[in-house]
Amino acid sequence: MTALLEVENLTKTFSMRSGMFGDTITLDALVDINLKVEKGETLAIVGESGCGKTTLGRCIARALDPTSGSVSYTPEPGKTIELSSLSKRELKPWRQDIRMIFQDPMSSLNPYMRVFDLVAEPLRIHKLARGAELEQRVVSALDKVGIPRDALQRFPHAFSGGQRQRIGIARALVLDPKLVIADEAVSALDVSIQAQILNLLEDLKTDFGLTYLFISHDLGVVNYIADRVAVMYLGHVVETAPTEALFERPRHPYTEVLLEALPIADPTRRAQRHEAVKGEIPFLGNRPKGCPFHTRCRFAEDKCRAEKPELRPINGGPTYAACHFAETIELKGAYDDAPATGTYA
């Protein structure tokens, strides 16, 4: 089976110039990203701030143009479209299939448009419906996300954060997309609202056969919603694995660090943690040679400082990791020493 979306060797470089005559600095936000998103799955992308997960989402949605590499989209078997090389005009029909949900529902809805126009806008742009049919599709999209019909003529500021995020989701859904890129879709919301939105996303996924690319820094949320997880560090994918496997037995030291950062409610177990990871995330314009994580890794050896590890299958399994010692090092999973029922959702 071919994947719905396949990202190959995707690289995004930003150049920055200090002042008019200053030196140009290049920042590699994404380096040789390889990912597959299967139809119907939820792939989570996790990593700390600045690791490039949002840039990746935006490159796939073509809000940013990738520097090199390819993003191929296969809506049906045998029909593959190379998204990264399409012009703006050629891309337009595919924008219906790939939709994005934004992090901040305060800024992702135009404050000068009413709810009706906000949700109708994608339909109008693609000339898919007008008049009564337009109204009907807008109302049904809002209905799916639980926004009442009497809200149509209000401005976004009349809604709470959770409601606005629902409107944002309705905007994405109104075009019947196949792939939804949710960029930190719940991070700006209260915990109770997060759960509502996550459940809504789950329901919509089963009802409409959606595929999610779920970008998040919150492992609890990821554990709850994702089928598979890709861990990013400094513009690299360092590990991809099915969610369960990743939480149980991480294969990359950075994944372990992330898992250890999960809050533990039990103070006796908290004491058994490793020391918090040392150092800052390196500056993108001055990335370390070799393994990108070696400056902070507790297992780092000379080989790590000299040679960059490739993302490779570990023990032939579904887990991929970019670590020279993935098979041998002892890493602690999220459930180690935890009570049998412990989850982080």
Binding site: M100, L109, M113, L134
Partner: protein
């Protein structure tokens, strides 16, 4: 009191009549702006003042009792006549109806100068729609009546006085209003076009074009305005007609005026370009044009409206200043600036203070436009207070 309050609370809130119940039908942007604007008393009054000003400017020939060039050496520096409405006859009966008194002259024995006295004996009744020399209203409609005037032809009528050639100050002021207000409007429209297009490109696309435009604007703005105007006005060919001069001055003023608007527009574009809702519109597949017009412009419409209405008085003041200095419009064109030129020396001011009337009009017009601009800005922004 408390009981009535609670009763009010339980009542259903009255829906405003303007909001329609249909799904996609709704109070239009214009209706909403107007509803909010009406709540702003000062702005509403200013709106009527500005409308009145432009009406007078448009129909100057009809409103002005005389042609601005009509002179009469018998009445140089004639003081304002008061318009009287009631005359008490010698037998005690009252005669109604507006009239002006005639002038008498005597010689001031100290200054050896002719001074005017109001002659209570002579009355020139006034009437509406009196006959006059035929003229063309708006340049196309032949007319032979003025809004008001003396019923007997050739009687003196100087409601706010006469200037050094015995020309009617009121008529000149009305005709000057036309020139001054239109120079403000045309100048601002030109600046708006330059400003929005250049500023918009600069802010939306950024890059080298933005840098080039910004440096140009900085350069233009760093030039001191008065010497620049001086230079440009002096560069105008001597043999140009008054009308050509007028257009040249408008263009000169707007060549400097666009920089301000371009900055405002660029700033808004830069701020909005990175907003998520703009990215969202781009990801919807909207064209650049649609993103700009439908998603970005509405959120800085209020800024543009304010900047534009606030720029008109700037233009008018600039023209007035320029003409006052003798660099802008030249006689025989009548503008507020050229009228104020008459009031430049202290002798004239002391003996004929009514020549300062254009100054009062300038102040009223500028204030009204500023208040109008403020009101419009507040009304056009649904997120205002």
């Amino acid at each position: 009191m408390a009981t009535t309050d609670t009763q009010n609370l339980t009542k259903p809130v009255a829906q405003p009549k303007t909001s329609k119940p249909t799904l996609s039908g709704r109070e239009s942007q214009f209706a909403m702006t107007w509803r909010r604007f009406k709540q702003h008393q000062l702005a509403l009054v200013s709106l009527w003042i500005v409308v009145a000003f432009y009406l007078v400017a448009l129909l100057a020939e009809f409103f002005a009792p005389f042609d601005p060039g009509d002179y009469n050496p018998r009445y140089t520096y004639a003081p304002p006549q008061g318009i009287e409405f009631v005359f008490v006859e010698e037998d005690g009966s009252w005669t109604w109806g507006p009239y002006v008194n005639g002038y008498g002259t005597e010689i001031d024995p100290e200054a050896m100068r002719r001074i005017f006295t109001i002659d209570e004996e002579v009355r020139h009744p006034l009437g509406f729609f009196v006959e006059s020399e035929p003229y063309m209203l708006l340049g196309i409609i032949p007319m032979s009546h003025k809004l008001f005037g003396t019923i007997e032809p050739r009687a003196p009528l100087y409601v706010i006085g006469a200037d050094r050639l015995g020309r009617d100050q009121l008529s000149r002021l009305i005709h000057g209003t036309r020139i001054s207000l239109s120079i403000g409007l045309v100048g601002v429209v030109l600046s708006l076009i330059f400003g929005v297009i250049i500023g918009g490109f600069s802010g939306y696309y950024g890059g080298w074009f933005d840098s080039a435009v910004q440096r140009t604007i900085e350069f233009i703005r760093s030039l001191p305005t008065i010497p620049l105007w001086l230079g440009l006005a002096a560069a105008l060919p001597q043999n140009w007609s008054a009308l050509q001069n007028y257009f040249a001055i408008t263009v000169i003023l707007s060549l400097l005026g666009w920089t301000e608007l371009a900055r405002v527009v660029r700033g808004r574009f830069l701020a909005l370009r990175t907003e998520d809702f703009v990215t969202a519109a781009q990801l919807d597949g909207a064209s650049d044009y649609r993103v700009i017009v439908r998603h970005m412009v509405p959120s800085f419409m209020s800024h543009i409206i304010a900047a534009t209405t606030l720029a008109i008085p700037g233009m008018i003041l600039a023209e007035t200043a320029l003409s006052f200095l003798g660099l802008g419009l030249q006689a025989p064109i009548v503008s507020w600036g050229t009228l104020l030129q008459e009031a430049q020396n202290i002798r004239t001011l002391a003996s004929a203070p009514w020549l300062l009337a254009p100054g009062v009009v300038v102040v009223v017009a500028i204030l009204a436009m500023n208040f109008l601009g403020d009101g419009l800005r507040d009304a056009a922004d649904p997120y205002g207070k």
